[in-house]
Symmetry: C2
Subunit: 697 residues, 2 copies
Amino acid sequence: MPTSGGDGQPPARRYGPTERRVIEPVRRFRPGDTVIRVTRPKYRGFERRGSDRLEASLTLEEPRSPLGRLWRVLVGVPISSELEIHERLTKKKALAVFSSDALSSVAYAPQETVVVLLAAGAAAIFWSLPISIAVVMLLAIVVFSYRQTIYAYPSGGGSYIVAKANLGETPGLVAASALSVGYILTVSVSIASAVDQLVSAMPTLLPLRVELGVGAVVLVTLANLRGIRESGSIFAAPTYLFLVSMFLMVGLGLFHLVQGDLVVAQPAQLPPPITALTPILLLRAFAVGSAVMTGTEAISNGIPAFKPPESRNAARTIVAMAIILATMFLGLAVLIVFAPIIPTAEETIISLLAHGVFGESWLYYLVQFSTVLILVLAANTAYADFPRLASLLARDGYAPKQLAFRGERLAFSNGILMLGLMSALLIVVFGGSTGALLPLYAVAVFAAFTLSQSGMVQHWRVERGPHWHLKAGINGIGACATGLVSLIAASTNFMNRDLPIVPGLPLGWGSWLVLVIVPAFIWVFRTIKEHYAESEADTALPTDSEELDQPLRNIVVVPIAKLNRPAVQALRYAQALSNDVIAVHVATDPALAREIEEKWPTRGRGVPLTIVESPYRSLTRPLLQFLAELRRHEKAETVTVVLPEYVPDTWWQHLLHGQSAQFLKLSLLFTPGFVVTSVPVHPKSDEDAEDIVPLHA
Amino acid sequence: MPTSGGDGQPPARRYGPTERRVIEPVRRFRPGDTVIRVTRPKYRGFERRGSDRLEASLTLEEPRSPLGRLWRVLVGVPISSELEIHERLTKKKALAVFSSDALSSVAYAPQETVVVLLAAGAAAIFWSLPISIAVVMLLAIVVFSYRQTIYAYPSGGGSYIVAKANLGETPGLVAASALSVGYILTVSVSIASAVDQLVSAMPTLLPLRVELGVGAVVLVTLANLRGIRESGSIFAAPTYLFLVSMFLMVGLGLFHLVQGDLVVAQPAQLPPPITALTPILLLRAFAVGSAVMTGTEAISNGIPAFKPPESRNAARTIVAMAIILATMFLGLAVLIVFAPIIPTAEETIISLLAHGVFGESWLYYLVQFSTVLILVLAANTAYADFPRLASLLARDGYAPKQLAFRGERLAFSNGILMLGLMSALLIVVFGGSTGALLPLYAVAVFAAFTLSQSGMVQHWRVERGPHWHLKAGINGIGACATGLVSLIAASTNFMNRDLPIVPGLPLGWGSWLVLVIVPAFIWVFRTIKEHYAESEADTALPTDSEELDQPLRNIVVVPIAKLNRPAVQALRYAQALSNDVIAVHVATDPALAREIEEKWPTRGRGVPLTIVESPYRSLTRPLLQFLAELRRHEKAETVTVVLPEYVPDTWWQHLLHGQSAQFLKLSLLFTPGFVVTSVPVHPKSDEDAEDIVPLHA
């Protein structure tokens, strides 16, 4: 009868391997005088950190393959968990860190508003002024609404958190997926617009639009895998450079406009109007223009990074940012209408105006350069926000838990890679066109705004502090306004026939994509959550369980295909696991079976051999049935199948050795009560290798 | 110190599991009277076949999935190894079995000869008569040459065997690869020609040429997977039907020709001559015409299937076949030249002549039908020959040994599938054109002929029996003649611009393909042989080996990721394998590590736990290094790593659980001295499943 190694009585407390004593001879000066030292074993590649506690050293992380070395060069040396930085930001630095996304929007929102209006002829661009005023009013509403969030959620109030806490799971998930889409589009739109600005200054790059965009996404992704964090100093310089050059340009532009000597290049030929100036067109222009507010919520996500008093500093910063943004935006709108500035496919409004104000001087290049830079920084903020949101979702069980792991450089590497991949894909699908991406962006961002503000309304209704009616009212107005914008953006840009999905078909990309992706994300979130909950319940450790406390009865079987070195090694290994090993040969070739039977008494190591004849020449099925019957008769909880596995040097050689072992493993993996163990037998030349991770010491 | 279960002393002889005694209560009539029976366990799904010997029953082979059931319907119930048939054939049946390939060639060889000549205008087809006479002379030489092989190799003398035995390994492999290519082309050419005949009788099918060809290959492949064997009775009827209808047609045709009242439909318009009647054109026509001899070698492969005296009967059969073939071929040539019969893309020579002789009567359809049938039978012979050759190569170590396994219906299934796949591919690439495939066929077949005859020359030189000079001379003439034809076929059809590889490029398919495939096959054969030799040496069982006789020292390690049910199951399992188990936790999250440490004293089953802190958050590398160091310090031959593995229900759920275990397995598989064992933990609902193969009894 087979017996298991562990036999019922609770084992005594034993020393762990690193605490076991080693006797080392120590040589002394006098010959014949042997001195021994009793010591603990030295584990190379580790530092001792206490009783049976080691710490892995950096040498273990050395790259070993050429690909690994390339990755090391691109991404850098791993960073220890202890070095995580929790920097606190002054208001000035915080403005730089959190506003690049919002401020950079002036590079594309006015531009694309004018492009939409131009469809109704050059005269229609006058409407960009009233639209801009409406957008600024909307901005004021949103900022007031968010000020309240900042005070109510001093530890950071992203849309996902606020909506989930106040409205429940589903609205929270809607917000999360709208936000995810928003972050992806932040990268796509910012990079596409940066490419527009670059191309305006260097028109020879025009045909490389998409390639430049994808290249920029790859660079920003790599930089973030290296773990660029929101360090105020890195961000401050480009942001303030952008503000200075922008205010200088708009100010000088307005001065020249009043003087009457502002000359902006006009397009050689205006495209003919293709539509009348309908309300739909105006709404579409408004939806595009409101994209200037994207990024406004960043400050309310980042409150804990402010110096105390955090909420107050954050509230002041958001107001300051809104005023700066509104000023730039309105100034630009006035210039656009009265100069007038009419953008072309080759040159953006910013570039036309900079040319008009500064000519071809270095100041022109300063404006363009700082605009490109702040747009890239804006894309970069999504690389901090999206992986953070993904890790929150992963921690709540809605996303694969791999998204919550920090990579070797402390960044959420998986989230970063995912973001880079999806935004690059969008740039390719939309041909690098900022104008085509913008409506989608507006839909997603304003949907998230709406849920966050609605959540705040509910928050006040439940909390009922002083003036709660007023506070709920402000947030309510914010929710209504942003909800309306979201609806407008979705309905007026539902499908764009200029971007066909399949060339030739009248189906185009458009904001419907967001309306498909958001529910799809929610479905994925829920399915993942459900599975994690199920597996959590399945793997939970019962507080007391008869079964889990008893020793396990296991029997060991070695299938023999041929009586060779791997087979004997497998028998030796099996005998190290159990005193009662059973060997079985499935006989498809009688000659081979006879040969094994003849050799068995001398080479079989005393193990009983059962022959299973298989007249239909199948190996797996008779073996599986034999194992199942054996388990039943021997009343074993587990049957361990020890398979000899010859490991050839290259992958194609595996194909030459039959895959019966793999089939068997796969079949048994899905059958409770069986454990398959391969005993790898290596080509003799390989068996010298000892160290797994070669150490330099 | 950990100890292994097997502890040095040789274990005593034990009963195998099927011989162990089981005590069964037997109920009797009187109450309170308990009778027990001591019996051996009943293994369901098996028959007992002796001491510790079972035989798997057919019930185990029952298909379990819908796909499995479909396969069962297509391929049939498995056949027991005992039922292998060794039928002996009379000369008449043998003629039918082995000649379908050769005799069917009259359906395409004369046809394609005329097509080649037509390029020089209608007058040029006169040359098909002298060419046919030359081909018949060649046939006589080859048949005389092969008669000698039949007497010299009474156990079957295929080109591979003869060339390898007499000329050495390389010529043997050249013959094997030429033969392989030849067999593939036998299928492609015969099926393509069968489709030509079918389409002549039913012109509406013309646009479906390629589809019909591929469909026929699939059908023949399936039939062979079912295991149609060379049963004389199946083959006799169609072959003799073909011979009768063919001789009737040719005879009546000649009669009417002499009478002067043979009327064969002439094409409405002849294509204009595109070339002069050059010697190259004549040689090309000759090469194509000599394809009539393909299949001649079949009899010399199949000598053991003849009734005794085998060699004499086989020799008589090959001569009879040659006479029948030559008569048909020459008769057709005379009719072609003097009728004249000019084939078109829509109608073959056979069809035109049958129409001329029989009109639209049922006899016309008999000719067409029997021709299609014999062509399909010809293709079918390759399905017996190619897998047999492949299994010979596999047994000699030149091909993957899977090719030597007989499938559930006793057929060499892998070889059959391979043949079907490649010949279907050729039909697609060559657009189902018999004429385009024929030159390749001739190159391959005549190359194999040449090697076989050259081998015979060497055979006589070594053996030196009576008249050996004469015998060597006959084979030498055969070798020279066939070698010349092979060269002609290769050089005059080197590249066919009408079959471009990439449309638009001036590179076409042609006989160069054979000159590429044959060396490629040889290289593959050699590489495989080399690897098998190496692995054979690696896995050989040394006659006496200190190391292999000693017990193996093994230690068991359980990496703990989380202290849950799978982890405790893994610990229980590990304790069944060894008295000294070590647990290790790689800590990337200090909070989780603390939680495990706290619970360990109560739930750790007394196993010592080592904590390895990983400040760079990598799991695999610190663990691998720890295991390597542990192995070194504990002086263990193997380290068994027991991993808890939660097995979700579906594949995508695997993705949600991280792949660290898979990475670890892969890394350790290629490192000698480590064994990885996954302990599958199933969702609780699955754990009731007991039987692996559900039995109907």
